[in-house]
């Protein structure tokens, strides 16, 4: 009897998805759908928050008042995105506190790109242009994802991300129009960030364990490889326009496919970094844990004050 009811509910649920009707927090949903969303949205939230660190690293050294202000505003936007996304996970029944604890314990991952160091000012340009550019490819598709709160958060996030992407490209353009030292700095950043940016789309479709189910639930609307191809196709002409070389000897336009062909991704590096052995994994998590631990007395003070003055 109960199985029958469950089956009915599941059927109704899938019919809604197929009709592109959004699933809302109080609607019935399969447990695995809920879990998949919690995993994906919290990973996304953590990526925003951990992503503040490599860029925040250059705020105090930004080369002009304007660049300092823009970078501050950008990193502040990322914090805001983290906030919406933690709120979206709360609609699925998990607290922000628990979600953050999962990040600190290593149970839930964040985007591996943020485990690479920012070594020069040009890295801020490369991150804005390539990393935010890659993120947008994913996120534009997520504006139509099946879970309502996630889709709506994504609409606002996408608007800001596309501004970030433009400011990153503008930094790179300025550098490429500058001196020899500035052009070298830009190319060096390109060389270091290109491949990790391609890895941001995740394992190839054949290897991706979540893709098929997520596509059926319309949590994901495109596969990893489709998105990666769109990113390459969009980025190559942008690089060429300002004179940056793509660090891939196998990159070539394929007339028949109407896409660029590109070289093989070093998946060994990807899995190493995902597994905790990237250049900055340890520093990133330590910084987040430290902020939480050092802030504990502040949060306690706020709670104590609120309790005293409740009435």
């Amino acid at each position: 009897m109960e199985t029958q009811t469950q089956d009915k509910l599941a059927e109704k649920f899938q019919a809604k998805i197929d009709a592109d009707i959004k699933i809302e927090p109080n609607d019935w949903m399969p447990d695995t759908y809920r879990k998949t969303l919690i995993r994906q949205i919290s990973q996304h939230a953590h990526s925003e928050i951990v992503g503040m660190l490599p860029e925040g690293n250059w705020i105090t050294r930004a080369p002009s008042l304007r660049r300092k202000a823009v970078l501050l505003a950008k990193v502040q936007d990322e914090a805001g995105h983290g906030l919406y996304l933690y709120s979206a996970t709360e609609t699925l029944g998990v607290s922000r506190e628990d979600t953050i604890d999962d990040l600190h314990s290593g149970k839930v991952k964040y985007s591996s790109i943020f485990n690479y160091p920012t070594l020069t000012w040009a890295d801020i340009g490369a991150i804005g242009w390539l990393v935010d550019g890659a993120a947008i490819m994913n996120q534009v598709a997520l504006c139509r994802t099946s879970y309502g709160p996630y889709a709506r958060a994504m609409v606002k996030i996408c608007k800001e991300e596309s501004f970030h992407q433009r400011q990153g490209y503008e930094i790179m353009t300025t550098l490429m129009n500058g001196t020899e030292a500035q052009r070298e700095m830009a190319q060096d950043a390109m060389n270091r960030f290109w491949w990790p940016a391609l890895m941001m789309f995740g394992p190839s479709d054949a290897e991706s364990k979540h893709t098929e189910q997520s596509m059926r639930w319309r949590i994901k609307r495109h596969t990893n490889d489709e998105l990666r191809q769109s990113f390459v196709d969009a980025s190559v002409p942008q690089a060429e326009l300002i004179g940056l070389k793509i660090p891939d000897p196998n990159l070539v336009w394929n007339e028949a496919r109407g896409h660029y062909d590109f070289g093989a991704i070093d998946w060994e590096e990807f899995w190493q970094v995902v597994g905790g052995n990237g250049p900055c994994n340890k520093e990133r998590i330590e910084a987040r844990v430290k902020a939480k631990e050092e802030g504990e007395w502040v949060r306690e003070a706020a709670m104590a004050y609120a309790k005293k003055h409740k009435s």
Partner: protein
């Protein structure tokens, strides 16, 4: 003109240096909401510094721009108060520093609204809106920390004792401020001090915190003599402009 220029550097440097200090905290706040708030205040201060330096550079008339003033002076040419260059310390140190500063800046900008210099009045009007928010934020935290837990009260009280000695310098006047006050460009800063004290005490009373009874004042930042912290702050601030001189960014 020379006096106005110097006064603008004094208040512009306050904005820049405090903005720079707060920027260090981006990504490291005790809760996400505070990360956003402190970054936002930093952003406002950098914006104020930009407006103030732009006008200062114009008055100076030597072809320098706001960036040249912000990034390419020597340490003794920065005229900020010593208070704003103090390290962030713990959250109580950061917020008490901000609170002392915000009360002063709100009063200053309110009085600059009627400046005989229209450009200064315009800068004050824009900055005052932001400063009111900053003050509301820092006051609320001083109250919460003071009237929160035993530990937060102890830390807030310690921050007050520690930073108090730097507050009198905010009202420093030499020939520059005296001349400008006489010309109606700025208020008499000495008249702001009792108003500042009254406001500070009203919040500290609610927060159940105390001011030190007897403590001397210190500070020569307005004359360009800084604390040992300043050189390190400038090393980061000026890094790109010093390593890669004469380039566009």
């Amino acid at each position: 003109m020379e006096h106005t220029y110097k006064f603008l550097l004094r208040i512009g440097d306050d904005s820049l240096i405090l903005g720079q200090r707060l920027a260090e905290l981006c990504g490291h706040g005790p809760i996400l909401e505070e990360d956003i708030a402190l970054t936002n205040i930093s952003l406002d201060l950098i914006g104020q510094a930009t407006n103030i330096y732009t006008y200062a550079a114009q008055l100076e008339g030597k072809g320098r721009d706001a960036d040249a003033l912000a990034f390419l002076r020597l340490e003794h040419q920065y005229l900020n108060a010593i208070l704003v260059e103090q390290p962030n310390g713990n959250f109580a140190d950061t917020l008490v520093r901000q609170f002392f500063f915000d009360v002063y800046r709100k009063l200053l900008f309110e009085h600059l609204l009627t400046s005989s210099d229209a450009q200064i009045a315009a800068i004050a009007e824009k900055s005052l809106k932001e400063t009111r928010y900053h003050l509301k934020h820092s006051s609320e935290w001083v109250i919460r920390l003071g009237d929160g837990t035993e530990l937060s009260k102890e830390r807030a009280q310690f921050a007050i004792l520690d930073l108090w000695r730097y507050t009198d310098e905010l009202f420093y006047m030499d020939e520059t401020e005296i001349q400008l006050a006489n010309a109606g460009v700025i208020p008499n800063l000495k008249d702001l001090k009792p108003l500042w004290m009254e406001h500070v005490l009203s919040i500290l009373n609610i927060a159940t915190l105390k001011l030190p009874e007897n403590q001397g004042f210190f500070g020569a930042g307005r004359q360009g003599r800084h604390s040992e912290y300043m050189g390190f702050l400038l090393a980061q601030l000026q890094y790109m402009q010093r390593v890669y001189p004469n380039m566009q960014w």
